[in-house]
Symmetry: C2
DNA sequence: ATAGTTATCGAACGCTCGTTCGGGCAAGCG
DNA sequence: CGCTTGCCCGAACGAGCGTTCGATAACTAT
């Protein structure tokens, strides 16, 4: 059976073409395990042997699901940003009548919420973009840019009529800096109160850029 | 001749004990080259062979100056934070009568200024702390904590009397997030105006946390 | 029962890595 | 002059890497 592919990449995608449910389940489970190993040790030190052994299978068994190590990394990053963007769009659609400030809070809430549920994946995305090359790199970059643009448009709206000339591009990058740096210090035991974390960070950012 | 050592670590330090000036010069030059290679390719992919070849010497020659690859990484991070802290202390001493807001601006100015002058080193520090182990990791962490504490004290002062309960710990981490994420998007040609970058970022942060 | 597909494995190949070893060459000093 | 010392090298070693190959059971459809 021919494998379904992401157009223009040649990497397979699960759950979309006659493969068995067991296959899809195992595929997703192995990808989750791989994200944990890569988050813990970094892409280069996370060998296919370690990933296979943590997933309870042989190296050759791993290659039944993924055709290369880079594909594993690509899929983690692609799916992570894909679901990040999809969730954000859903939230923004549901709250489209809200103020720009409320929608920025939605962005922060979405990002940190996803972060808590998929800590290893987010860490991998924050650190390993540059470990991809060629088409895989471009495809992930495209998703990131989409995510960035959605956010920057809200920031543009929030800055409207500000007397200070604030660069919304820089502001968006500052926001992502705050949010993506979280993996460096976050500890579920110390910072488990997600609501509080969201409020503090979005508070700093919103008060920081709001016109006065 | 016995090599001088950082107390408790066992790693050598240049410029402090009877070695020739050529040695110190070459040592520093090789370390700068190593920082460039590691910033470009990541610690694991940056092989000793590549570092040696970019520095114009053989692998074995490299081992005359450094006793392991991890030592190279340690020295880059240790010296970078060392000089970052030293410069910051100097600036803060010179501006000790200034307001907390002005001193936060000094922190941002110092960090980004150092960033522009030592882009590869800062990138290495932002990404490769976890590639260190044991004593080297602890020693670098110690320097980072010192840098963090200096900054957080100023933030504490800036938040004094704020009616909102703002967590200065989170605020400091948010600031470092903004500043350290810069390596992900900074382009000297697009963002060459350092003064403007400093003003925008410190503006966002200060307005974000200042009591109102 | 037979043929084909799915999921898995052990073993190996070729390569790169960090590190070491023994030596060599030039400068400075006795 | 001979000898030490500072600086540097070619070559090698053992380990770990990503990837491939052929084989093997279990299941499914004919």
């Amino acid at each position: 059976m021919k494998k379904a592919e992401v157009p223009g990449i040649g990497f397979p995608v699960p759950g979309d073409g006659g493969r068995t449910p067991q296959y899809d389940e195992r595929f997703a489970a192995v990808l989750t395990t791989a994200a944990q190993v890569i988050a813990d040790e970094g892409y280069d030190r996370a060998s296919m042997r370690k990933i296979a052994s943590r997933a309870g299978m042989s190296i050759a068994g791993l290659y039944y699901y993924f055709k290369s190590k880079e594909e594993v990394l690509y899929l983690i990053q692609f799916y992570t940003f894909d679901s990040l963007v999809k969730n954000l769009k859903d939230r923004l659609d549901a709250g489209s009548q809200e103020s720009a400030e409320a929608r920025i809070r939605l962005v922060v809430e979405n990002h940190l919420g996803h972060f808590l549920r998929h800590l290893p994946e987010l860490k991998v995305c924050a650190r390993e973009l540059e470990s991809l090359k060629g088409d895989a790199y471009e495809k992930v970059l495209e998703r990131r840019r989409e995510y960035y643009l959605i956010t920057r448009e809200i920031i543009d709206e929030l800055c409207e009529g500000s007397q200070q000339q604030l660069d919304s591009n820089l502001a968006a990058l500052a926001l992502f800096g705050m949010l993506n740096w979280v993996y460096m210090w976050f500890n579920p035991r110390r910072h488990g109160d997600l609501k509080r974390l969201e409020e503090q960070l979005s508070g700093i950012f919103i008060d920081g850029i709001r016109p006065r």
